[in-house]
């Protein structure tokens, strides 16, 4: 027979320290400004754009787009020159929404947008009024010679434009005289409008801007998703406790719930402290963790219950210690296997899954810890309290 490790020896200290840490994490989250809600939950827009201009960095983009109050973050290695640009609609704060968000594209902007969509390599040399209010002269330049007047005319067939070359054929410069008098304005509003503006601002300043991906979430959907998220978390906890109560005696359910709540609080607070953008993917990670947390605890408790049924003369404390010890190899092996796969996802699974993997890694560590140091003491205390 192997030696039994006395896991419960320092239970008071470890248990209270851990819960203190939870409280500390939560306070820290609140003090540092709460959660970094992603656009899934508050509405807003997010684009991934790559630039050909080499002078671009996070700072220059932030300055260029200051009206949009964006967060800018580089993706991948520097040579790709690729950035995630996010603008959120503020919901909790009463802060005025960035001024540009409700002013949508003018007719002039529509033309620029069309040009940019067809020719990402375009450079806008100048845009000026040509006498009448709705008559504009645009000077544009292309980096390749594949564009000619006829092609350009065809691409802009929805507009009332006259196109002529400026300078020699080699210059690849064109003058577009655009008459907007008879053009209807497209109705684009809200978030849609904001993102169009942002893209236009980027493409007017830099040539060769490529939009790799684009997400917009309206404020109503954001609210809907946020409410559902809370409902789901609650539902998960309720269903799991119902199952536990059904399959185990009440004392085991209490222990498992105690560690579940510990893990939930700890991992949510972790997202807060790390400033992890809280989106649907993170929610998925958290829900999976709740499952894992209970899973891990059940394996330990199952063994404790089994030893308890043997009706040997040892105390309940010893039974618990024995149970933990006997399942320790499994706890460690499974933890290592899961942590390993998550680390792989973290390092090679791509940008989208990095935060997901990080939250999972932390959560699995906490979940493994709590199934040894949080759930068993709770089980013991409940048992002692009941048998008084």
């Amino acid at each position: 027979m192997e030696r039994t490790i006395n896991f419960l020896k320092y239970k008071n200290i470890i248990f209270s320290l851990s819960w203190l840490l939870v409280v500390f994490f939560i306070v820290l989250t609140i003090v540092t400004g709460g959660f970094n809600w992603g656009i899934d939950f508050v509405g807003g827009y997010k684009i991934v754009a790559s630039f050909q201009d080499t002078g671009v960095n996070e700072g220059t983009i932030r300055t260029l787009l200051r009206d949009f109050d964006p967060s800018v973050q580089r993706v991948g290695d520097a040579s790709r020159n690729e950035y995630i640009i996010t603008t959120k609609l503020e919901v909790s704060d009463k802060k005025p929404v960035a001024a540009t968000q409700n002013v949508c594209l003018g007719k002039n902007d529509m033309l620029k947008k069309t040009l940019f969509e067809k020719y990402p390599q375009i450079t806008f040399v100048s845009v000026e009024n040509a006498g009448r209010p709705e008559l504009y002269r645009l000077k544009i330049r292309f980096s390749s010679s594949s564009v000619n007047e006829a092609l350009l005319k065809d691409q802009l067939k929805d507009y009332d434009v006259k196109i002529s070359r400026s300078g020699s054929t080699a210059a690849n410069e064109f003058i577009i005289l655009a008459d907007f008098a008879r053009m209807n304005q497209d109705e684009v509003q809200g978030v849609e409008c904001g993102v169009e503006h942002l893209k236009l601002t980027l493409s007017s300043r830099h040539s060769g801007v490529k939009i790799q991906s684009e997400e917009t979430v309206g404020p109503a959907i954001g609210e809907y998703l946020r409410k559902s998220a809370w409902k789901l978390t609650l539902l998960a906890i309720i269903l799991m406790s119902v199952y536990l109560a059904f399959r185990f005696e009440i004392k085991y359910s209490v222990g498992a719930m105690c560690s579940l709540v510990h893990d939930i609080a700890m991992s949510i607070a972790f997202c807060g402290i790390m400033g992890i953008e809280f989106d649907i993917t993170i929610l998925a990670a958290l829900l999976t963790l709740y499952g894992y947390s209970v899973n891990d605890t059940i394996v330990v408790f199952d063994r404790i219950r089994e030893i308890n049924q043997l009706k040997s003369k040892i105390t309940f404390t010893e039974i618990i210690n024995k149970g933990i010890t006997q399942t320790l190899v499994r706890t460690i092996l499974t933890g290592v296997a899961t942590l390993y796969t998550l680390s792989v996802i973290y390092f090679v699974g791509g940008e989208t899954l990095r935060d997901f993997a990080l939250v999972m890694i932390f959560g699995i560590l906490v979940g493994t810890f709590s199934s040894i140091f949080i759930a068993p003491p709770a089980l013991l205390w409940w048992e002692k309290w009941r048998s008084k």
Binding site: A284, D302, T334
Partner: protein, 551 residues
Amino acid sequence: MTRGMLYKTIFIVSLIVIAVLLILPTLGTKQMEIRFVDSATAENIEAIKKKFSGGGYTLTENGMVIIVSGTNITDAIMNELKNFQGVSDVKILKHWVERVFLAKKINLGLDLQGGMYLSLQANFAGIEQKLGRKLTESDKTEITQQALELIRNRIDKFGVSEPSIRPRGNEAIEIQLPGVKDPAGVKKAIGTTGSLEYRLVDDKYSNAASVWFNENFRDEQISDDPLEQKTLLAGISKTIALPDTMELLFYWERDKNTGAIRPAYPIALLREVAVEGTDIKEAVVDRDEMQQIVVSFKTTPEGASKFAKATAPENKGKRLAIVLDEKVRNAPHINETISSGAGNISGGFTYDEAMTLARIIKEGALPVDLKIVEERTVGPSLGQDSIEAGVKAFAIGLLGIFIFALLYYKLGGLIADIGLIMNIIFTLAILSLLGFTITLPGIAGFLLSVAMAVDANVIIYERIKEELRKGKSIRIAIINGFNRAFWTIFDANLTTLLAAFILLQYGTGPIKGFAVTLFVGIMVSMFVALYVTRFVYELISLNKKMNKLSL
């Protein structure tokens, strides 16, 4: 070996064979047929060839048709090719397994193949204002269903194949378009309200068109491209010498499996509009005296006289086509003059068919305008990056676990590894069978479920070791090990299943992919660990001479 064991062997082996067949359409070589227009130039064809040079594709050229074979062939690539100059049609050919079995290939999510996801909502506030009352939940459901019908009617305007359109709850509609080229155009097509009108059918020319169509076009599928459909109709009109007062349109039928509508046959209509969509006030599904399902409608006072004229005795026996956005969706016969401003449309409808028709008619009475409340667009190159990252993570993750199991459990590890491979095959097979979509988080969920599958093996093996240490015989240790581990594994996995199930209810797009793979993966891992692996050990323990178990 006992008879029972023989049956088990046959059962497990056939499961593996079926599973491998089911995943062939997904992982095996796929074929795509690219058809060129007759006027396509050598450069046009060269451009296609260049696109598929490298990447492990093989091309077979046969006149104006190129067949591309390779493993990386997606809907997004197909839709992208449709925009190439000189290309007339692109089709992904069905794998023979897809024809023989009910298997579908696992689709790539938009995050992996690139494309556009939209979530739309009807402008409820606007409708409330128009009706002058608050909308109830069932009103909202009905309006959303009507909008859904309208969107399905417009699929061709999106210019992509394999779009997915479905309601989310009762308030929103989700559209997923793989590889969309012109997002602005799609948004514009969605933003416009539907045009509904009622026009008389000319039977003589309709018959002539049908005859021609049946002779020349019976076995071919009509192209998805609206431009080609128009060319086809113009061609038929010319052949049958259709007068200028008439117009040839397609009659569209709904595909029962996909819910999408497809052009079925041409039909000749008078150009003159008999009744406007707005002339009808309401339409509901009802039953007539014969207890048949009918769509009953009421007209506006103004519409009543138009309807009376359209259904006048001289038109009796003719058909009145219901045309939504230039597509004929139904053409009931006129049985009697309707002058009261109320009538029935009968035609042996099922309830669903009648609902669809009522919704189409309502679109004229109460047009729904839709707004985009959520949009996610992923470019093809980002999608490709994601696939590579996902596959790489999966491969490295799997390899590590394999080695880990081998090192730690030796022969037992080898059996566990075989179990893991079966896990992967079975999971993919189930995903294929259900026609699921795999996303990047889905790949992560898959990998995670493999880690969980290891857990089941660890629990069992540790148990067996313990039994052996207690001095039990190998045979008894194996039996006890599996028996004792059963409930532990069951209880433990059930909670994770619960979490995945909840997520499934909530998730959209990528997250749904995660929940699905996690759910299916865990179910499969329980089956493999508790049934298949157990069987392997039972076989091993038959060997009475064995006195040491390598674990």
